[in-house]
């Protein structure tokens, strides 16, 4: 449907600057060619500078999923994998398929706290801990630096932190990678940079991970590569978009609460909402609004809604209001 409002994939609703789009178009004009390795190196350098780490620690990829998959493939053979539930769905699916032992820690509403003691007791044998921070779909910061340090002090443990939304939360462990060889941080340009269509992910890999990635080489499509280079060269535009998103997050959250819905605090570009209407996601879809229904993967009655533009959010809010009105009337 052409007029669908997509609030189901946590995309940035704003287009990147004209220069970034023009760079992608420049890439398209060389569609018959692979990317130039020199340009790939340039992007690595730009991402290293943006993240405040050494270029040697940056691994490029087409999105962050292949990086997480590779980590699971390589490092789960002699280790148990520890994750939280719920978590980034593709990573969970991959882990379910390949690992020899998977431990999932159920996050419990309304706080969704991750108990450090569980991680400590579970990491008494070689382990790979994968945590999305902030967590998707709760939007909560699950681990702080102190907890990360405690996990990393156990040299039998590898810690992988998925920081897809770190630009919104302001929390990152990238600067800890140099000191802690058993830490890696996975990031993406899909979200805050508004480049979901370019699919650029990167790993800030600790020393223990680097060997495994020595043969992992991503030939990025030229349009993706050039748009990413342009975006990371001058990332000032993302600040404005993040500010707008956070402002909308607070406004939409407040309005939903006024409607009597349970809205959980978020440090991301999406909101976790609990409603007592089991069919709410389907009813929103009938109105042309796509949101993520979490009932099939996790607890019933929860939906995840990405923040869109002001106009999109207003349509979403008025649709929710209408659904609630009909539902309450029906009761």
């Amino acid at each position: 449907m052409l007029n669908e409002i997509k609030l189901n994939m946590n995309e940035m609703p704003y287009l990147p600057p004209r220069e970034v789009i023009e760079a992608a178009q420049k890439g398209l004009s060389n569609l018959n060619r692979y990317a130039n390795p020199r340009d790939l190196e340039l992007l690595r350098g730009l991402l290293a500078a943006y993240s405040g780490v050494s270029k040697k620690n940056i691994i490029l990829s087409t999105g962050s999923d292949p990086l997480l998959r590779e980590i699971i493939h390589v490092f789960s053979r002699r280790r148990k994998v520890i994750m939280v539930n719920p978590s980034f769905f593709p990573t969970v699916q991959c882990a379910k398929e390949f690992v020899t032992k998977l431990i999932k820690i159920q996050l419990r509403p309304p706080e969704f706290n991750l108990d450090a003691d569980i991680i400590t007791s579970e990491t008494n044998e070689p382990s790979l801990v994968i945590i999305d921070n902030p967590n998707n779909p709760t939007g909560k910061i699950l681990i702080d630096r102190e907890m990360a340090k405690t996990i990393l002090d156990n040299k039998n443990t590898l810690l992988v932190v998925d920081e897809a939304y770190h630009e919104f939360s302001g929390v990152t462990f990238a600067d800890m990678v140099e000191e802690h060889s058993n830490l890696s941080v996975v990031r993406t340009l899909d979200k805050a940079f508004g480049l979901a269509g370019a699919r650029i992910g990167y790993l800030i890999a600790g020393e223990d991970f680097l060997d495994a990635f020595s043969t992992f080489y991503a030939f990025l499509p030229q349009s993706s590569l050039y748009s990413a280079m342009e975006a990371v060269k001058d990332p000032s535009y993302i600040k404005k978009n993040i500010k707008l998103t956070i402002k909308e997050r607070e406004r939409v959250g407040k309005k939903l609460k006024e409607m009597g819905l349970q809205v959980y605090p978020s440090t991301t570009n999406f909101l976790l909402i609990k409603s007592n209407i089991p069919s709410v996601a389907r009813e929103l879809k009938d109105k042309g609004i796509l949101v993520l229904d979490l009932s099939n993967q996790w607890l019933p009655d929860y939906i995840r809604v990405s923040l869109g533009t002001l106009k999109e959010n207003n349509i979403f809010l008025s649709s929710m209001k209408e659904i609630l009105r009909i539902c309450n009337k029906g009761e």
């Binding site: 431990i103 159920q106 419990r108 009932s295 993967q297 607890l299």
Partner: protein, 367 residues
């Protein structure tokens, strides 16, 4: 001051420890013969002792063991209403509630199980809100509080002022239940003070989709492969546990407790006495249970044969919890309500649930 009615079904829950799966009809006499003890007095006293706003209550109670007998020791103003015979029935419950409603009660607190909830629904409908204290063998309706203590908190919330919500009363066919089948249908809705975290979710029917069957089969295979032949395994109710005995080629009481030792069935549809006898005989023992879908109870609902004494003798470390991922991931926590708070505290905290051959979930157990 709030005028609150209290009614207790004195025979509710008696069939649990003796493995009778309920006391509807004349079954409670059989339960008595088997040595069943009343469980509602303890529940009722626990409820009354944890209500904080006792000075704000004018209690209206039924005589004798339907209420009065438990209230006297608490410092709560109360008034007696109606008359009850020595042997009480569902009709007495409905009649007394009718008299309480005529007397102008604003809230009805009742102690019992799903059968009692049906009687309460017949008498109350949507006239006033209720607080349901779990004490039956079958406590699957979402109208119930998660425990007697939680019920006390809900009473306090009502006194302090809270909005209301509708919760389900389920009609569980006790004869079918005793006959190893779970047949339930929605009987009606009762209004309850809206303190969601203290209300249990209703029993969710076990999914029979292919993935759920596969998942149970995978769990069963894993359990059987790792089963120590020299250990007595007490298998609780449910289709997940039945998958284990299916894998071993043994029969299983779907809604009861069976025991397996050295690949042989050594106990069928056991009650507490039968379990205790086996626990004396075998040195190494384990309990294997699955949470009830929807509300997450592992002990205290549906498997009362696992009494506090049984759980104490087996020990927390020898309890294995299994469940299909699709069921377990939909639970925010596991719950226990054994009727013994010390045992409930012992079981509380984090525990692992086997959800697949190579997959475990760390869940919080709450009481």
């Amino acid at each position: 001051m709030k005028k609150i009615g209290l009614i207790v079904n004195p025979i509710a829950g008696m069939g649990g420890s003796v493995g009778l799966k309920g006391t509807d009809g004349g079954i409670y006499k059989k339960a008595l013969k088997l040595g069943a003890k009343t469980v509602t007095p303890k529940r009722t006293k626990e409820l009354l002792s944890y209500i904080k706003n006792r000075n704000e209550i004018n209690l209206v109670v039924a005589p004798g063991k339907m209420g009065e007998a438990y209230v006297r020791e608490f410092n709560i103003a109360f008034k007696l209403i109606g008359q009850v015979p020595e042997e009480t029935s569902a009709e007495d419950t409905r009649r007394i509630i009718g008299e309480m409603l005529n007397g102008g009660i604003e809230l009805l607190v009742f102690v019992g199980g799903d059968g009692t909830a049906r009687d309460v629904y017949d008498a109350v409908g949507s006239k006033i809100p209720v607080v349901a204290v779990p004490s039956g063998v079958k406590v699957f309706s979402s109208v119930f509080a998660v425990s007697a203590r939680a019920a006390a908190e809900i009473v306090d919330a009502f006194i302090e002022g809270t909005n209301l919500t509708e919760e389900e009363v389920l009609d569980i066919d006790e004869n079918a239940f005793r006959d190893n089948r779970l047949a339930s249908k929605l009987y009606g809705y009762l209004m309850v003070p809206n303190v969601k975290k203290l209300l249990q979710a209703g029993k969710e029917a076990s999914s029979m989709g292919k993935s759920s069957v596969d998942s149970k089969g995978e769990i069963a295979r894993y359990i059987v492969e790792n089963m120590d032949k020299e250990t007595l395994c007490l298998l609780g109710p449910g289709t997940t546990l039945k998958a284990i005995t299916d894998d071993m080629g043994l029969p299983k009481t779907l809604l009861g407790v069976d025991a397996v030792y050295n690949n042989r069935l050594v106990g069928k549809d056991l009650n507490e006495k039968g379990i205790l006898r086996l626990l004396k005989k075998y040195k190494s023992k384990k309990i294997i249970v699955t949470p009830i879908g929807g509300n997450g109870f592992i002990f205290g609902r549906g498997s009362k044969q696992f009494t506090p004494e049984v759980i104490r003798l087996v020990g927390r470390g020898n309890i294995i919890i299994v469940g299909a991922y699709g069921k377990v991931s939909k639970l925010d926590c596991l719950r226990v309500d054994t009727g013994d708070f010390e045992i409930d505290k012992l079981l509380s905290g984090h525990i692992k649930v086997i959800v697949g051959k190579k997959e475990e979930m760390v869940m919080e157990v709450r009481c």
